[in-house]
């Protein structure tokens, strides 16, 4: 009888260990699929950034106007958050011309400092729109947006914050029932909100 009990306890402890290991492996797997994708400079006082300018985005998508579209949404969302003031686009463009920035979508640290001296802004946001539009997976169709942003301070030209996000795509429901996924407008809004939350967290 005591022998049977010992065997039972060994079996149950083994079972528990196996279940826990599987759960841990699963959780690790989940974490690998959803990286936070955020960098924050630990020495930076983000409270000092009150005014930012948003430069034109690098547009790697097939839609030519997608960069401007997402930039507009981001500017209004940043203003609406109440966290920072965003310099009007016209002033930003004037600053870019005055600072003679060759590629406004990817400025160098020196150019950022120069731009900051022309336009009284504490930070400059640049971005890359990696994907914007329809994606296909077999017969299923969905919309996807993939965007990354960088915040650079104008005093040193250093990157103090960087984050990326991807929203939309073809989900299991889309594969099973079709439907075309969420509208482009909705996922754009979600992606921008996600990045702003990462900035203000």
């Amino acid at each position: 009888m005591p022998g049977t009990r010992r065997v039972k306890s060994i079996v149950s402890s083994l079972f528990l260990k196996t279940v826990m290991s599987i759960a841990m492996v699963s959780l690790t797997g989940c974490a690998a699929f959803h990286p936070s994708g955020t960098y924050r400079n630990e020495n930076m006082d983000f409270g000092s950034i009150r005014t930012v300018e948003v430069l034109p985005f690098v547009n790697l998508s097939r839609d030519n106007s997608a960069g401007e579209r997402v930039r507009d949404v981001l500017i209004t969302a940043l203003l609406a958050s109440g966290g920072v003031y965003v310099v009007p686009i016209g002033e930003v463009n004037r600053g870019v011309v005055r600072a003679a920035i060759a590629n406004p979508a990817a400025p160098s640290a020196e150019e950022i400092v120069k731009l900051g001296s022309f336009i009284k802004a504490d930070g400059v946001i640049t971005g890359t729109l990696k994907e914007y539009g329809e994606v296909r997976s077999g017969t299923a169709v969905g919309n996807v947006i993939s965007l990354s942003l960088q915040l650079m301070e104008t005093q040193t030209g250093k990157v103090v914050w960087s984050a990326s996000t991807t929203r939309g795509g073809v989900s299991v429901t889309d594969r099973l029932f079709g439907g075309g996924g969420e509208p482009m407008n909705t996922i754009t809004e979600k992606a921008v909100d996600d990045l702003i939350n990462k900035l203000f967290q």
Partner: protein, 390 residues
């Protein structure tokens, strides 16, 4: 018997006296009103040729004639076509989407015209279902041109199909006639009310903006606003001008915004050679504020402005708007909107909007609702809310 007669006589006498008194009270007030306001017949209007913003072909001459006919029927004195054409040729006026101060003065002096009606055609499609969208505004010629009345209409033949499609309008002429009747009625009503702006018109269906920011728009302050044509990034021709016109119309309805006549804005932009390719700079804005005595400026960008083609086409509108103020050189309002004609459809096409005009107007009303001063939306305090690292 005698007593009953005398009592009924007394009753009749009292009623008659009351009636006379009432008539006596009403009489002078009515007379005073008619003395203050000119009669429609003596109010001379010049109807400009229809500005075609539709980006396609449209029977502009016929549309103008039909509109002029309706306005004449409503009792207004319309400047004859010959006189108008001679005036336009004499003064080499080629832009018909607005009027500047000098042209307005000349028109008042030479043709004794009190106001100019400027119709702008936004959309015209005569294939089934026929569609028309038109904006019209009346601009005074006395002194500085001022918008006295502005309204717009968009109709589609299948707006209200009714039972067994009995409500369908298949004839484009019938639809145009209906649209012009509505516009003329609005003009007549506004004339009757001394061109006062009705704030009640804001209380209609609207789409709230996707993102909205407002700050420093004091509720007790009067604003003189310049609406610049929007940057058009859409595939639709003239979408920037169309969107600017919609904002002019809706901003007027807020009550504390005096909108500068777009013809004046265009004239000064050309006169001072203001080219704003990448957006409005503070230097450009300063010139505009000074020459047009304005204290706020509105500009924006149209990303998408699509009218639904045919019976099943869904209109789509996407734009962003920014308001800058003179005092601080800062953005005081920013909004971003995106909607489609079937956003409010839940079943059987109920709530469907068939024109881009209809969608755009409801989107703008959603923004106007947020800046409506009476409601006192709390202003956003800007600055420094990014949490510091710990």
């Amino acid at each position: 018997m005698i007593s009953s007669i005398s009592s009924s006589n007394r009753f009749v006498l009292v009623v008659l006296t009351g009636l006379f008194l009432c008539v006596g009270c009403a009489g002078p007030r009515g007379m005073a009103e008619t003395m203050q306001r000119p009669e429609k017949g003596s109010y001379r209007i010049a109807i400009f040729p229809v500005e075609n913003l539709s980006g396609g072909k449209a029977p502009l001459k016929e549309l103008r004639l039909s509109l002029a006919e309706k306005i004449k029927t409503a009792g207004f004195d319309v400047l004859p076509d010959d006189s108008l054409n001679k005036f336009l040729a004499r003064h080499r006026i080629r832009y018909i989407g607005g009027i500047d101060g000098e042209s307005a003065r000349d028109m008042a002096e030479e043709e004794q015209v009190q106001a100019v009606l400027i119709p702008s055609l936004e959309y015209y499609d005569d294939s089934y279902p026929p569609k028309i969208a038109l904006t019209a505004r009346l601009v005074s010629t006395a002194g500085e041109p001022e918008i006295l009345w502005m309204d717009s209409i968009a109709l589609s033949g299948n707006d209200s199909p009714g039972l067994f499609d009995t409500g369908l309008i298949r004839d484009p002429a019938k639809l145009t006639d209906k649209a012009f009747r509505e516009l003329t009625r609005s003009l007549s009503d506004s004339f009757g009310g001394g061109f006062r702006v009705s704030v009640d018109q804001l209380l209609k269906k609207k789409f709230p903006p996707r993102q909205f920011y407002r700050s420093d728009l004091a509720p007790d302050k009067q604003f003189r606003i310049v609406v610049l044509p929007f940057y058009n990034r859409s595939d639709r021709k003239n979408a920037g001008e169309i969107m600017a016109l919609h904002f002019v119309q809706e901003l007027r309805r807020l009550g504390n915004f005096t909108v500068v006549e777009p013809g004046m804005v265009r004239h000064h932009l050309l006169q001072y050679r203001l080219i704003m390719e990448g957006g409005v700079t503070n230097a450009n804005a300063d010139v505009i504020y000074d020459v047009l005595q304005a204290n706020v400026l509105l500009t924006g960008r149209v990303i998408d402005y699509q009218d639904g083609r045919g019976e099943t086409g869904v209109p789509t509108v996407d734009f962003s708007v920014t308001m800058l103020d003179k005092e601080h050189h800062m953005i005081v309002l920013a909004a971003d909107s995106y909607n489609t004609g079937d956003d409010r459809v839940h079943f059987f096409d109920f709530g469907r909007i068939s024109t881009a005009y209809g969608v755009a107007i409801e989107m703008i009303r959603g923004i106007m609702d947020r800046i409506d001063m009476q409601r006192g939306t709390p202003a956003v305090e800007g600055g420094g809310r990014i949490a510091p690292n710990h």
